[in-house]
Subunit: 196 residues, 2 copies
DNA sequence: GGACGATGTCTCCTATACGATACACTATCT
DNA sequence: AGATAGTGTATCGTATAGGAGACATCGTCC
């Protein structure tokens, strides 16, 4: 029998397959997984192998992530972060951080507005993590260095990169700069932060 | 033996485990998966069951997604979208869309700047997709309706929600509005768009 | 009504994921 | 050196994932 964690992937797979008008055998042929196996997976009679689920989601044109994401109904519908009510987190860095996310269950990315005082910079070690990151410059001039390469971001410019690459940045304008930062997977700034 | 699709999850798992200073047995106890199983998975000797990988990634504090994402080294280091060089996609909607992402392999979210002319709106059916979505109002006034609930976004306000919920929005200001939209998983606007 | 083709389900059998435990190796003690 | 505790690896038994094919049901055509 199948454990609690995985409950409902079967149901979801069946929905998607039906939605696309595919029969068990049709899907089976496409993806090289037997129809009986798919059937058992859909009924939650077995817990598929990683290889098998990947074949299936590929065949259905989805990702495993979205399959797992929507298993439980969200408790929060939407997280509304009003500009005037947003709290500002101020860690040691002297950089103002306003989180735009953090209110939904099982988020897959984080967003924050960063206020960077004149001359401030982030050193190389900090905020080094997995996944990807998008930085959009809203105000001021910020110089990014990623793996040796430098980029100067002015108002409206953005930079998208894999964030496990060594990266750091600096406010090179003569005034405060503001960045919008998106991280995936989400990081949890300020809260329960005990860096190993 | 293990198939091509899944190659390297093992390596990645081992890296993460070591990075956290955990031994096979330590991790094993935490997550109720035998150490020998973890070992074989790390060596790509077996293809783990969905339940098993989920236990492991949970124990390592990651998501399955990020495990699968970063399997291959990225070809692009960073995607720099300069404001003045950004192309504007104009679909039927009359809404200007400037993509900030789309340059990296295996992205997990999409970001775009939307320019919404006065009075323009998005109807309910459109942009209905899986995952989650963040909207940040940069300029103007936009009214969002999500599952019946309405939110008025002014400059600086943001809204974060599960995007499979029915949602639509409308520019209710007396001028053009601008939104920054983040979607996860990524959607591919404008390109190869043939809605089933 | 019977033949045919489609669907999903069930029943085996085999391949394999996983657990228990033994083994090899290294480091740090006494 | 020997003992002990830690590491990762190898072996083997069992539970189970997955494949081949039979079976039941429903529709359509003749």
């Amino acid at each position: 029998m199948v454990e609690q964690l995985v409950i409902n992937v079967g149901k979801k797979i069946r929905e998607l397959r039906r939605q696309q008008g595919l029969s068990l055998r049709q899907l089976s042929e496409q993806i090289e997984v037997s129809s009986s196996a798919i059937h058992k997976i859909e009924q939650n009679l077995i817990s598929p192998t990683l290889g098998t689920v990947l074949k299936i989601v590929k065949g259905l044109g989805t990702t495993l992530q979205s399959l797992l994401d929507e298993q439980s109904e969200p408790k929060e519908v939407a997280y509304f972060a009003e500009a005037k009510r947003r709290s500002t987190i101020v860690p040691d860095l002297k950089i103002g951080i306003q989180l735009l996310t953090g209110g939904l269950p099982e988020e897959t990315f984080s967003a924050a507005l960063l206020s960077i005082p004149r001359g401030a910079k982030i050193k190389e070690r900090e905020f080094h993590h997995h996944g990807e990151e998008l930085q959009l410059c809203i105000k001021g001039k910020v110089k990014f260095t990623i793996k040796g390469e430098t980029y100067l971001l002015k108002r409206g410019d953005s930079l998208h990169f894999k964030s496990y690459l060594r990266h750091f940045w600096e406010n090179v304008g003569n005034a405060e700069a503001r960045l919008l930062m998106i991280c995936s997977p989400p990081i949890h700034l300020g809260r329960e932060s005990n860096e190993g």
